[in-house]
Amino acid sequence: MIIEKTVKKNSFDELIALALSKPNIYVIAIGPPGCIRVLFFRAMRANLLNKFFAYAINELDVISGDYQKKVSDYIIKIKEDKPEMKGLIIYTSCSEIITGMNFDKVIYDIYKRCRLKVKIFNRGPLAKRKELPRKKIKEILKEFDECL
């Protein structure tokens, strides 16, 4: 097992800046509060806070494994608030990956209720990647082109 010394870092805000770089494409981060805190500040430092949302899950959500409905309802509220939103990227965390959280239902439900296109970006060290996160975000953004 590798154990590394923790050192101070400047913000890793390039990825969130890229994800929020297209007009009318928003980001919502889902995960434990301690995990999504850093994304708020990355978005803020990139001056993109107006397009960033967060949904903090709690321990009960993890145990029940059933918070798709709550996430859907929350996204619908955001859409009501931001009618100009044309696409949404869900940033997941290790918690969603490790519990095998399935967002297909959320994507379907949101599209059915408000015609909003939602894409998933699995972030964090447990995400299985065949490509660099930056490349993955670019691909996701390209997929949104048709709805812009």
């Binding site: 097992m1 590798i2 154990i3 590394e4 010394k5 923790t6 050192v7 101070k8 870092k9 400047n10 913000s11 890793f12 995960g31 434990p32 509060p33 301690g34 995990c35 999504i36 805190r37 850093v38 708020f40 500040f41 990355r42 803020m44 806070l49 949302f53 967060a54 949904y55 903090a56 899950i57 709690n58 321990e59 993890v62 929350y74 509220k77 965390s93 290790c94 918690s95 490790i98 519990t99 964090g124 060290p125 447990l126």
Partner: protein
């Protein structure tokens, strides 16, 4: 919606808070993580430089998670870890919480391999700072107290519970220690080892423990229970707070502080009490600020708001104190309170994210539990005459202080 869904980041998490607490103590800390869990601490929460700390993070992979982390804690895995510390600390994350890692087993294993005491904390990233800080102060008690009686004749005064989350930048602790300097007194800290001219271990013979945060009370209570060291909660805000601090030490230690001109009582000043002031922040801090803004300036129209749920706190406030604070995270209640205020004293992040405050007078008061290192270095003060001058200047700008010829 609540304010954390729409406007604000979650408060500093449990494990990040412990990184900050153990930052300048003789502790080797290991965070059990897939590798990325330290980002909030590294990028947002800690304003100091990590270079000289002994804080580590694991890089857990699928095998560790499937087979169990316990099986990978070996002498080899720990060989590059700096052992020059009084004790080890093991912290959990959301991953260890979800897979049910037994941190006690891991800490026992590390204890055997490293031959050092190990404390573990079931942190998870699901909770915020307050309760875990209180637990940590209590747990580290045996390692931050002197084991033997002191051989010098100075009167010992313990200083407990200063942490950057509640009290802000470390420079304020240094100011407090400077104010307390006295030839007959030896100041004893709760394990912080980066401050000169003080003892970094608490004394069991102390005449008094001064507690500077709610979270530090668990430790002060322990000292009181075992060694009959009494404690007092105090935050020496503005000049009257410094008076109160001196008074406590004088009463318990039988010494006298030579009070300089700048700390002498001031004549009352005239203020505009029609202006409604709203203070938002950490409960212990804002209760004290309200008290001393009244004592110092005579301001009575002050309301307090905490953007927490009461159950997140360990605070042992009296009913009277609790009644003074509006605890809420509800968006409507928060924005209503912001709308009702003429002057808002709060973390700069509040100004950044709530458009309701754009036309209000705003006095900056960073709360690191909310905004991390983002505003930790801004120019503000709350202690002694400099603290008084900061608030005097700001209150004059806001029109609350309308006449100040006498001061």
């Amino acid at each position: 919606m609540n304010v954390y869904d729409k406007y604000l980041p979650p408060l500093i998490s449990d494990y990040s808070a412990l990184h900050l607490l153990f930052f300048d103590r003789s502790v080797t800390l290991i965070l059990l993580s897939p590798g990325g869990c330290n980002h909030p601490t590294r990028e947002v929460d800690e304003y100091r430089n990590f270079e000289n700390t002994k804080q580590y993070t694991t890089k857990l992979n699928d095998a560790h998670i499937t087979i169990g982390i316990e099986n990978f804690i070996t002498k080899n895995a720990l060989e590059n870890i700096d052992m020059d510390s009084d004790f080890f600390v093991i912290l959990g994350t959301s991953i260890t919480n979800i897979i049910g890692t037994n941190l006690m087993d891991i800490s026992k294993k590390i204890e055997r391999i490293m031959n050092k005491p190990v404390l573990y904390f079931n942190t998870s990233a699901f909770k915020s700072y307050s309760k875990i800080l209180s637990e940590a102060y209590k747990k580290m008690y045996p390692y931050i107290c002197k084991s033997q009686n002191d051989d010098n004749n100075k009167i010992k005064v313990n200083i407990i519970g200063y942490n950057s989350i509640v009290n802000g930048h470390e420079k304020f602790l240094e100011k407090i220690l400077e104010l307390l300097k006295h030839k007959e007194i030896e100041l004893c800290l709760d394990g912080k080892n980066n401050i000169k001219n003080v003892d970094n271990k608490l004394s069991k013979d102390a005449k008094i423990s001064l507690v500077l945060s709610e979270e530090g009370i668990s430790l002060a209570e322990q000292l009181e229970k075992e060694f009959q060291v009494p404690y007092e909660k105090i935050l020496p805000l503005l000049t009257k707070g410094v008076f109160d601090l001196y008074k406590i030490i004088e009463d318990y230690c039988g010494i006298t502080y030579k009070i300089t001109q700048q700390h002498k009582n001031r004549e009352e000043i005239i203020i505009d009490n029609r202006k409604k002031i709203l203070i938002i922040g950490e409960p212990f801090f804002i209760l004290n600020l309200k008290k001393y803004l009244f004592l110092e300036f005579g301001i009575s129209q002050i309301s307090l708001m905490c953007l927490f749920k009461k159950r997140e706190l360990i605070a042992k406030f009296t009913d009277e104190e609790y009644d003074q604070i509006k605890f809420t995270i509800d968006e409507k209640q928060v924005t209503n309170n912001l709308n009702l205020a003429d002057v808002i004293i709060a973390d700069p992040l509040i100004k950044e994210v709530f458009h309701q405050v754009y036309d209000k007078f705003f006095i900056l008061l960073p709360f690191l539990g909310l905004s991390g290192r983002e505003y930790a270095d801004i120019n503000y003060d709350y202690i002694g005459i400099e603290g008084f001058n900061y608030f005097k200047k700001e209150l004059k700008r806001t029109g609350v202080v309308i006449e100040n010829e006498k001061i």
